[in-house]
C-alpha cells in the first residue's frame, strides 16, 4: 500500500579501497551507513518514508524488522522502530533476523495479516578490509506497508520457494565478517533452486516470464544471481538496473530497495518478478495497480533521488573507523556515557518519537515535554506534540572539536521548529564548513553512540534531503 527506501548519504568509491590497501577495490561505489546508523535507525528512516506516503488513517498493526545485522541480540530491535514511529502500544513489533533470507517475510508473511503490516528490511553489510564482501556490500533499508485497502498500489499475485541446506555463507554470532565457500559450489546449488522458485511463482501467478515487465534478481551469491537472471528468460528490457554499481548489494534490504526502485518508475498494471537467492530461492510476482499513478504525488523520495543526493567521497579510513576496523585514538575526554533505562523509558515518546508538549493555555511548545509552561507558567496544561516530521531552521551553531565522536568534529545547532519549539540537535550527513544560521534542516533517527553495550538512539538533524524542499 506504501513503500519507502532509505539509501544512506555516504558512498565509498571502491577505488579508494585499492588506493589504500594496494589491492582489492573495484569500480563504482557502495552505500555506507554513517557512523551513527545501523539496521534499526535506517529501518526507521525507510519506515518514515513509507508511512509519510501512506493513505491517511492507516494504523499499523504489526511491525516486522528483517536484518542479518541486528544491533541487539536477545532484545527485539523492531521495538525501537515501533517507538520511533510513535505506534500504538497494541501494535506488534517483531524481529525476523539473522540471515539475508529473513527479508522474505516482507512478502511472505505480512500480506496475510488482517491489520496493516509494516515490513522493514534493513542491513549493514561489510567484511574484512580488502575483501569481496566489503567491496560488493552496501547499506540500506526498505519498508513496505501491506494492507487490505482501496489504495493498494501493488499486490503479490504469485510466489515460489525452494529451500536447501548447504554451506555457502555463514557467520557465528560475534564475528565481524562472514565466511564463504568456494564460489562455483554455491552457484551449482543455487541455479536449480532458482529455477524451481521462479517457475512456481510464475505458475501460481498464471503468467509467463515473457509477460513480466520488471525483473529483480538479488541474493548473497553474485555469480549465481547473474546467471539465474539469465535463465529466467524475461525480455531484456525488463531487467531492473543493477544497483550494485551505485549502492552495492544491500543484503536483507536489497529485495525491498530494488522493488522500491521499480515501483518508483513502473506503470499501473505491470508485473514485477522478484527473485532472491539466499539459502534457497524465493520468488514473488507483484502486480501494480491504478493507485500507483496517484501514489507518486505523495511519495517522499525515490531511490534514484537518494542515490543522486548522496556524497561519494567518503575516505576509506573513515569507513574503516565507522565499521570498527580501525580503532582510533580517542580525545582526552571521558568515555561516552550510556543512557539509563528508567529515565529513557519515562521519556519514551520524547526520546524515540521526538514528541514534545504544547501548552494548551498559550500554545508554547516545549522540547522535551515540560510540565510547567516556560511562557505562561501554567502547570500541567500540556498536550503531546510530535515534531519528528517538522522541519526546522538553524538559529546558531557550533563545531565541537573537543567532544568525543566516531566522526569528529561534532556539529550541533540550535533548531527552531516550524510548528514552534526549539532544541539543540547534533547535525549529521553535513559538511561542517557549510553550516549557516538560517539553514533549513530535517530530523533523522540515529544511533548517537554505543556505550556499555547500550545503543543510544535519538534524533539528529541534517540538511534537507527529502523531496518537497525547504
Amino acid at each position: 500500500m506504501a513503500y519507502g527506501a532509505y539509501v544512506p548519504y555516504w558512498r565509498l568509491q571502491r577505488s579508494a579501497i585499492a588506493a589504500a590497501l594496494g589491492s582489492g577495490g573495484g569500480k563504482g561505489t557502495r552505500a555506507v551507513a554513517s557512523y551513527d546508523e545501523d539496521a534499526t535507525s535506517m529501518g526507521v528512516e525507510a519506515a518514515r518514508l513509507a508511512l509519510r506516503a501512506a493513505p491517511a488513517g492507516v494504523t499499523v498493526g504489526t511491525v516486522l524488522l528483517a536484518t542479518a545485522n541486528p544491533p541487539y541480540l536477545d532484545k527485539t530491535n523492531a521495538s525501537a522502530i515501533h517507538a520511533a514511529l510513535g505506534l500504538p502500544r497494541s501494535t506488534v513489533a517483531v524481529d525476523a533476523g539473522g540471515a539475508v533470507r529473513s527479508g522474505v517475510v516482507a512478502f511472505g508473511l505480512g500480506i496475510h495479516d488482517e491489520t496493516p503490516v509494516l515490513t522493514v528490511l534493513s542491513d549493514v553489510r561489510t567484511g574484512l578490509p580488502g575483501g569481496a564482501d566489503e567491496r560488493d556490500g552496501g547499506d540500506a533499508a526498505a519498508a513496505l506497508l501491506w494492507a487490505d485497502h482501496d489504495d493498494v498500489i501493488a499486490e503479490v499475485v504469485g510466489g515460489g520457494f525452494a529451500t536447501d541446506e548447504f554451506l555457502d555463507r555463514w557467520r557465528v554470532p560475534g564475528e565481524v565478517a562472514s565466511h564463504v565457500w568456494e564460489e562455483r559450489f554455491g552457484e551449482q546449488v543455487y541455479l536449480p533452486l532458482a529455477d524451481d522458485a521462479v517457475n512456481d511463482a510464475l505458475k501460481s501467478a498464471g503468467v509467463t516470464a515473457g509477460e513480466v515487465d520488471h525483473v529483480v534478481v538479488c541474493g548473497v551469491h553474485g555469480r549465481a544471481v547473474r546467471n539465474a537472471a539469465k535463465r529466467i528468460g524475461a525480455r531484456p528490457e525488463s531487467y531492473a538496473p543493477d544497483l550494485g554499481a551505485t549502492i552495492g548489494n544491500t543484503g536483507t534490504a536489497h529485495m525491498g530497495v530494488a522493488l522500491a526502485e521499480v515501483l518508483d518508475r513502473a506503470e499501473p498494471g505491470e508485473l514485477v518478478l522478484l527473485l532472491q537467492l539466499a539459502d534457497g530461492a524465493s520468488a514473488f510476482v507483484v502486480r501494480t495497480t491504478e493507485a500507483l499513478r496517484t501514489y507518486r504525488d505523495r511519495a517522499a523520495s525515490t531511490v534514484a533521488a537518494q542515490i543522486e543526493s548522496g556524497r561519494d567521497d567518503l575516505p576509506y579510513n573513515a569507513f574503516l573507523t565507522w565499521r570498527g576496523f580501525l580503532d582510533r585514538e580517542p580525545p582526552r575526554r571521558p568515555d561516552p556515557e550510556a543512557y539509563y533505562g528508567p529515565p529513557a523509558h519515562r521519556s519514551e515518546a520524547w526520546k524515540f518519537a521526538f514528541v514534545g508538549s504544547r501548552c494548551t493555555e498559550c500554545g508554547f511548545v516545549h522540547l522535551p515535554p515540560n510540565r510547567v509552561c516556560s511562557s505562561c507558567g501554567a502547570v500541567d496544561q500540556m498536550e503531546p506534540v510530535p515534531l519528528a516530521d517538522t522541519k526546522a531552521t538553524i538559529a546558531t551553531y557550533t563545531i565541537d572539536r573537543l567532544a568525543y565522536s566516531l566522526s569528529p568534529p561534532t556539529v550541533a545547532a540550535v533548531l527552531d521548529f516550524d510548528e514552534g519549539g526549539r532544541y539543540t540537535c547534533e547535525l549529521t550527513d553535513v559538511d561542517p564548513d557549510a553550516v549557516a544560521i538560517g539553514q533549513r534542516v530535517e530530523l533523522t533517527f540515529r544511533r548517537v553512540v554505543t556505550a556499555k553495550s547500550i545503543h543510544n538512539y535519538f534524533w539528529k538533524a541534517r540538511p534537507i534531503r527529502t523531496a518537497g524542499g525547504a
Binding site: P331, H366, A395, C425
Partner: protein
C-alpha cells in the same frame, strides 16, 4: 528584580583574604590547597581557625560535604556548609557566608573555594551527570559558549574576521594582565597572531579563547562592618550580592537569541540597585568578570551595562577594558590567564578587588581608576551555558557609604 531583594549594603566586610597560585599543582592535593589558602587568609588578619565561628566551602567536584574542609583543617566541630552552584560555586560560598554574618547568627565566618581539576587527566571540564535519557547533545563547554559568536555576528552585522579580532583582543588583554600577576596560571603575554592562529576547539574558538583548566583555592574572612576595624584598617565593604538562577529556557525558547545572558542582566540590575549604582561604566573602578571563553566576556560587557547593546565589540577593540582603559576588566588576568579552578574562581575575583581597591596590587598591574577616586569593584561569576545559567554579581568597596 524582586521587590523583596534588599541587599545587605555595608553591613558586612571582608577583613582578610588568601589565594593560592592557580595552575597545575601536581604536588598539591585538594587538602594542601585548602590549607594554603586558609592559612594565608588567617595570616592576613592575625587569626586562627578557632577564631572563625562558621565556614562555607565551595567546590563543584573536589569533595563532598563539610568534611572536605573540616578534615584537613582539623576544625573543632565548627559548622561547615558545602555549596555547589556550577562555576559560580565560590561566589555562592561567599554570598551565604555574608548573609550568616548579616543575620547576626555568627560574628566571624570564612568562605573558602577550592577545585582540583588537573588530577582527572581530561582536557577541559568534566561534570558528573545524574542518570539521564540520553537525549542531550553532550557538547563541551567551549562548544556551548561558542554558540554566542555566530549569533552575535548575525545580529550586529559583525564579520567573521572582525569577530576573530574582537575575541583575540579579549584573550590578548587578559594574557597581558596575567603576565603581571605572579599567582596566575599563564604569566606571559601572547602575541595576537599566536592567539588568532591557535588550534580550533569549538566554533570560532581556539585554544587561546578558553580559560585555563587549573587547581587552586581562595578564601575570605567576613565580619560585621562595625567590627571590621578590630581586624584591619582597610576592610572591603560588601555593597551588593545578587544571584539569579534562570528558568533555563534559552535552549527551548525561540525568542532567546544567544547574544545575552538574561540571568546576568537580572542579577546585575539587582546588584546595582542594592549598591546604588546608576552608571557602572563610570562608577566602578574595576570588574572581574567570568571570561570562561572570550565570547562570554564580550557579551558580559553588554549584560553588565558596561557597553550599549551591539557596541561591546567596538569598545573591546578600542581598549576600553584594558588595564589602562576607562574600566579595567579582569586586571588579574581573569579565568583566561589566572586559571579557572571552579570552586575557587568567585573568591579569586574578590581577591583582586581586595588587592586593587586597597592599593595592594603590584605596581605593574595597578589600575589607575582607583587613584582617580573610584572605589567600587564588581565581581561577576557565571555557571552553566548560554540560555541556561546561574549568575552572581557582587559589588565591593573600600569605604562605607
Amino acid at each position: 528584580m524582586s521587590m523583596g531583594s534588599h541587599g545587605i549594603k555595608d553591613r558586612v566586610a571582608i577583613v582578610g583574604m588568601g589565594c593560592t597560585p592557580f595552575g597545575e599543582h601536581w604536588d598539591k592535593s585538594t587538602d594542601d590547597l585548602l590549607i594554603d589558602a586558609t592559612q594565608e587568609a588567617f595570616g592576613s588578619v592575625g587569626l586562627t581557625k578557632d577564631d572563625i565561628d562558621a565556614y562555607w566551602l565551595g567546590t563543584m567536584g573536589s569533595g563532598q560535604a563539610g568534611l572536605t574542609l573540616s578534615r584537613p583543617l582539623k576544625l573543632d566541630y565548627k559548622p561547615v556548609t558545602r555549596v555547589e552552584n556550577f562555576c559560580a560555586t565560590g561566589s555562592e560560598a561567599f554570598r551565604n557566608a555574608c548573609y550568616a554574618v548579616a543575620s547576626g547568627a555568627y560574628d566571624i565566618v570564612m568562605a573558602v573555594g577550592v577545585e582540583k581539576l588537573k588530577d582527572s587527566g581530561f582536557s577541559g571540564l568534566v561534570g558528573a551527570v545524574p542518570p539521564h535519557d540520553g537525549t542531550n547533545v553532550p557538547l563541551t563547554a567551549p562548544a556551548m559558549f561558542s554558540l554566542l559568536a555566530p549569533a552575535y555576528r548575525e545580529k550586529y552585522g559583525v564579520s567573521e574576521e572582525e569577530m576573530k579580532d574582537v575575541l583575540t583582543r579579549i584573550a590578548w588583554k587578559n594574557h597581558f594582565n596575567g603576565a603581571r600577576n605572579p599567582r596566575a596560571q599563564f604569566r606571559s603575554e601572547v602575541p595576537k597572531e599566536v592567539i588568532c592562529a591557535s588550534p580550533l576547539v569549538a566554533g570560532q574558538l581556539g585554544i587561546f579563547d578558553c580559560s585555563g583548566v587549573s587547581d587552586g583555592s581562595a578564601a575570605a574572612i567576613i565580619v560585621r562592618a562595625e567590627d571590621a576595624a578590630k581586624y584591619t584598617d582597610r576592610p572591603l565593604y560588601v555593597k551588593a550580592l545578587s544571584f539569579a538562577a534562570g528558568p533555563a529556557a534559552g535552549p527551548i525558547d525561540p525568542s532567546y537569541d544567544y547574544t545575552t545572558f538574561t540571568e546576568v542582566v537580572r542579577s546585575a540590575e539587582d546588584a546595582y540597585q542594592q549598591a546604588g549604582i546608576t552608571d557602572p561604566r563610570s562608577q566602578l573602578a574595576m570588574a572581574e568578570v567570568h571570561d570562561c571563553f572570550t565570547p562570554t566576556e564580550l557579551v558580559l560587557m553588554e549584560d553588565l551595562g558596561f557597553s550599549a547593546r551591539g557596541h561591546a565589540w567596538k569598545d573591546v577593540l578600542d581598549g576600553a577594558f584594558d588595564l589602562s582603559g576607562d574600566l579595567p576588566v579582569n586586571p588579574d588576568g581573569g579565568l583566561k590567564s589566572f586559571g579557572h579552578p571552579i570552586g575557587a574562581s568567585g573568591l579569586r575575583m574578590l581577591f583582586e578587588c581586595w588587592l586593587q581597591l586597597r592599593g595592594e596590587a603590584p605596581p605593574e598591574r595597578r589600575i589607575a581608576t582607583v587613584g582617580e577616586g573610584r572605589s567600587l569593584g564588581l565581581t561577576h561569576n557565571l555557571g552553566g551555558a548560554p540560555g541556561q545559567c546561574v549568575s552572581f554579581v557582587s559589588i565591593v568597596g573600600a569605604s562605607p557609604g
